[in-house]
């Protein structure tokens, strides 16, 4: 997913950047004709229409999904500089609702696959329980890393749990 995001971003950046560069480097060429204003209107309205479509498509359902009727609840709490969880083995394919809290400052709970790809995250906010629903589709040892600067050992705030195939 992240690679797709990178490719789309770089492609769009390249199109916009190269188009802009070509136009400004044509400073000694012919001036833009009357069609240019029409093109600007087209771009403006095109961006608006595209924005409406993509917004409806991606926000029709809340991207922060709620848990179904029988999630596995995993309580995770954070503090300077540790993560504590009440469950260390999660079955693959099981919907999990992480209930994330903090005992001191704001932290960010990021879940990383065994090959260190971020698959989900949520903030840990003082005074709140933040819920994150996720279903793991691959077994292995996952890591919990801190995603929000929380002091001098922020980068050491790590824990892990296993996603197992057995209970599927």
């Amino acid at each position: 997913m992240q690679t797709t995001i990178l490719i789309i971003s770089l492609a769009l950046m390249a199109v916009v950047g190269v188009t802009y560069a070509c136009a400004v480097y044509a400073n000694d060429g012919p001036a833009a004709g009357p069609q240019a204003n029409k093109n600007r209107s087209l771009l403006l309205w095109g961006m608006i229409v595209f924005g409406v479509i993509i917004s409806v498509a991606t926000l029709r359902e809340n991207p922060h999904v709620s848990a179904g009727p029988a999630p596995m609840v995993v309580n995770i709490s954070g503090g300077q500089w540790w993560w504590e969880t009440d469950i260390y083995e999660i079955p693959m394919g099981q919907e999990v609702e992480f209930r994330v809290t903090t005992e001191d400052v704001t932290h960010g709970m990021g879940i990383y696959t065994p090959d260190m790809t971020l698959v989900a995250q949520v903030q840990a906010m003082p005074g709140y329980t933040n819920k994150l629903v996720h279903t793991f589709d691959a077994p292995g040892t996952y890591q919990i890393l801190c995603m929000e600067l929380c002091g001098i050992a922020h980068h050491d705030m790590i824990n892990e749990f296993d996603v197992t195939e057995a209970a599927q």
């Binding site: 704001t106 903030q123 933040n130 050491d156």
Partner: protein, 487 residues
């Protein structure tokens, strides 16, 4: 592109504020350079090239964030003041008070970091300033917050003077904003682009600073009286509202250099059209409403706030790309404009700003944000529109400010410096974006070995940017010392 001969036939009118502005740009340039060096040190440490104490890393991170935002704000404010003074009679004493408060704030911030060991990032996210885990004392965090407050007060005084004078000359603030022009369509009464920009920034940045001041005071009280606490989510809302508005204001102030300088090279005025005024009116709304995109992983925020964050993130890019970027390209194409260091950097600044908005808009989608939030994707997009956007505009303005109008050729050093800045900057931000797509978290003092390659390559690009910036500053100082520099 022709850049062999550059000659401006009509010198701009004398500007009584020029000496103060030159001093400011010099200070801003030196701070930019110093903060870049801090950035290089951090990337070097993340690349495993040097071994840096994490406590020092987080102090450098804090200084780098506060210092870069500060120098962007300072240079943006200097540019805006310089050009607004072309239309209204600004009081130079007010600018000196602003500058004095700003420098006092900088002293507090640097003191709190390097003497008090404060390392809670420029975002001072409540309640981290008060709960340091033993890394710094409450007093250091108080001094840090007081430093911000001094800068904020300076800016409010600055905007008060500007707002008062603009209102007097342009039939009230709505006149200056161009909103009356939008309604009545009377082109003859349209305020100049710089005045529309200034009025817009005055409105949203003053509101942003007030929210920042509120949360800073709350932090200070919490530091002095720990039993006093505020809701962390509410504080985060105020912090990011302030932070987002303030950093964006730096670019919106700096872009006035494009509106004012480029026409001197083309001989065509930069006109205020209705579309231009409407785009700025949209900016006033969007720049304030968009901050929710910083809280997309705070799932206790209401669903409407999440949706607003995503929709307005996208919407913010529409006036930028379809109006500002497109219009700049349209304006320059076929204009016969000659290139020099100033015009190159100013035009780059608009391009970097527009291109950098794209990964930001994409990151503003809730589903993408779940994978990219607080990874290095975030510094990837903001370095694009700050390093290749705001800072490029600031260096372009500085180059123009001390330009030798008697010269007809562009120096090879200027050409080299520009190319190095573009190549180094582009490579540097690409490494951040690649790092973000590789799930590497931001603000980590120590990186796993598998994450170090991007940082190592970024170190090389950072060094190239620093070289280019050093050359810009060298050229600026040389220009200042030259007789006949603009006054």
């Amino acid at each position: 592109m022709t850049d062999a001969t550059v000659k401006i036939d009509t010198a701009p009118p004398e500007n009584l504020h020029a000496n103060m502005i030159k001093l400011t740009m010099g200070l801003g340039g030196v701070v930019f350079l110093l903060m870049m060096i801090f950035g290089l040190v951090m990337r070097t440490a993340q690349g495993g090239i040097i071994d840096l104490d994490p406590a020092i890393f987080y102090q450098l991170l804090t200084a780098h964030g506060a210092g870069m935002v500060g120098s962007a704000a300072l240079s943006g404010a200097a540019i805006l003041w310089y050009f607004v003074a072309r239309y209204v009679d600004l009081n130079p004493k007010v600018y000196l008070i602003f500058l004095g408060l700003f420098l006092a704030g900088v002293v507090c911030i640097l003191g709190s970091i390097f003497f008090g060991q404060y390392g809670g990032a420029w975002t001072f996210l409540f309640p981290l300033p008060a709960i340091s885990g033993g890394a710094w004392e409450a007093g250091a965090a108080v001094v840090f917050c007081v430093g911000y407050l001094l800068i904020g007060v300076g800016f409010l005084i600055y905007y008060l003077e500007m707002g008062y004078k603009v209102s007097k000359s342009f039939k009230g603030l709505f006149g200056g904003l161009g909103w009356k022009f939008i309604i009545n369509g009377d082109t003859a009464a349209a305020p100049p682009p710089t005045i529309i920009a200034a009025s817009s920034v005055m409105v949203f940045n003053s509101i942003g600073i007030v929210f920042g001041a509120i949360v800073l005071v709350a932090n200070i009280v919490n530091l002095l009286i720990p039993s006093f606490a505020v809701d962390a989510l509410l504080a985060k809302n105020a912090t990011y509202f302030f932070g987002h508005v303030f950093i964006n204001a730096t670019i919106y102030m700096a872009v006035t250099a494009v509106y004012e300088i480029i026409p001197e090279y083309t001989g065509k005025p930069w006109k205020s059209t209705r579309l231009f005024a409407i785009a700025w009116a949209a900016v006033v709304v969007f720049v304030q409403a968009v901050y929710f995109h910083h809280l997309l992983q705070d799932v206790n925020m209401p669903a409407w706030a999440m949706a607003t964050g995503q929709v307005v993130s996208y919407a913010s890019g529409v006036p930028l790309i379809a109006v500002t970027l497109f219009s700049t390209a349209l304006y320059i194409k076929g204009s016969g404009m000659k290139w020099d260091l100033a015009t190159k950097l100013l035009v780059l600044g608009v391009g970097g700003w527009g291109v950098g908005a794209i990964p930001a808009m994409i990151d503003g989608m809730v589903s993408v944000n779940k994978l990219m939030h607080n990874t290095q994707w975030v510094p990837g997009h903001f370095h694009t529109y700050l390093l290749l956007g705001e800072a490029a505009m600031a260096f372009g303005f500085a180059a123009w400010l001390v330009k030798d109008t008697s010269r007809v050729t562009q120096s090879g050093l200027d050409r080299f410096a520009f190319l190095a800045y573009v190549a180094g900057g582009a490579g540097f931000v690409l490494m951040f974006l690649w790092s973000g797509a590789s799930s590497i978290p931001r603000r980590w003092a120590v990186h796993y070995e598998a994450w170090q390659l991007q940082s190592q390559v970024a170190t090389v690009f950072a060094a190239v940017v620093i070289l280019a910036t050093t050359l810009f500053i060298f050229g600026y100082v040389k220009g200042l010392m030259r007789r006949g520099a603009k006054t």
